[in-house]
Symmetry: C2
């Protein structure tokens, strides 16, 4: 097919496809004439992978290029390709965050201990470790559960919660990874990206609903000073 047909098949504008070609995200088509090339199903699948990485994974173009390179290089084992993809999906904001305080060290130690305690096979330099450490530093900053302060009475409770999350997610992950189809490498990476992001989104949405419900129960009918002035109690 010509580039216009590839655009129709994928819903991606021709200008964007040309950009992908220039950046090496999309492999060239077979040259059929000067300034003309033929594209096939492999291009359709690749464009779909790139869109998934950009839209669902929210990867930068540079990160997409790294993932695509790993997908293309069949010398890179598929598990390593997943690792490269997972690293690229960790938002920059979590990398090297809080380097100016002493907290990241204790947060990273807590993460290392958690990984070791459960015997998780997670690379020592996996970006997801920074992601969790960053969240723990923010959590400590909130002043509710400071897992980083071992003298806090809630630290043990917080650690127990982390442990139960690991157990819960390990069981879920085994089922999810077992369902990855052994098709071509690009399809496998696309599947894991969609699986990672979509189930994350679904879980976050359900948790937010539970928070709204809990907020309703605590705050909606509270006779707040400002409540009396705000009109009927049914207003929401």
């Amino acid at each position: 097919m010509r580039i216009a047909a590839l655009s129709r098949a994928t819903g991606v504008p021709v200008a964007t496809l040309k950009y992908y070609l220039r950046e090496g995200l999309l492999h060239p088509g077979a040259a059929t004439a000067v300034n003309q090339a033929a594209y096939d199903d492999s291009h359709v699948r690749r464009v779909r992978l790139v869109r998934t990485l950009v839209e669902l994974g929210r990867l930068s173009i540079a990160d997409v290029a790294a993932v695509v390179a790993a997908v293309e290089d069949e010398d890179v084992p598929i598990h390593d390709t997943f690792g490269i993809t997972q690293d690229a999906m960790v938002h920059d904001v979590h990398r090297g965050a809080h380097a100016d305080t002493s907290e990241p060290e204790s947060a990273h130690r807590l993460v290392d201990e958690l990984v070791a305690r459960h015997g998780l096979q997670v690379r020592p330099d996996a970006a997801v470790r920074d992601m969790l450490a960053d969240a723990l530093v923010h959590l400590a900053g909130m002043g509710v559960i400071d897992l980083l302060d071992h003298s806090s009475p809630l630290a043990a409770q917080g650690t127990a919660l982390l442990d139960s999350l690991v157990v819960w997610f390990r069981d879920m992950a085994a089922v999810e990874i077992a369902s990855v189809p052994e098709t071509d490498r690009a399809a496998m990476v696309e599947y894991t990206v969609v699986g990672t992001v979509v189930i994350e989104t679904a879980m976050a949405a359900i948790r937010r609903m539970a928070l709204e419900d809990a907020s309703h129960r605590r705050f909606a009918d509270a006779p707040a000073r400002t409540r009396a002035r705000s009109g009927p109690a049914t207003r929401r």
Copy 2:
């Protein structure tokens, strides 16, 4: 304090503070002279709220303005302010997604049923409903667990998983919302934003670690065609 001191106290550049003032995200200081104003602790707290909404909540400036307006208007009950904030935190990509297919209807029905089955107090027009429906449509598109297809043998299993997530998160949310301090409105909103985003991040990170672990167990030692060419098995 002058604006330079406010900048030092918050770590936000003067130019950004002036932008916040122009956009109404930050209330004006007390005029002390022509072109000079004095800022106080309320400004420090407000800047912190805005930074939290932008950096952790990833809100647009327009959405931050809506949240700030709700925080400032004491006629808006605090639970409604939480709702406005939660709506603003749902990424645009989830709103009105997939409007071109028939799937959103069945996805929204599934969400409505879930909310009703558990008696969750979630506003009928809460953006988080779109967020969950969008995730379910994507999940169906993956072809593993299609919750939208009632004839699928896995649909019942998937629904049971959603139910268990609601129960799990409802218990967690009750504890979290109970810990919201009854301080000033801005602090309460900041607390819920940080709590929503930070715990989401921590959970996502732990799940991703579990996925890497499961991927390692399934794929790292598999004698793949490409594995043999890739060097020693310890390479990761």
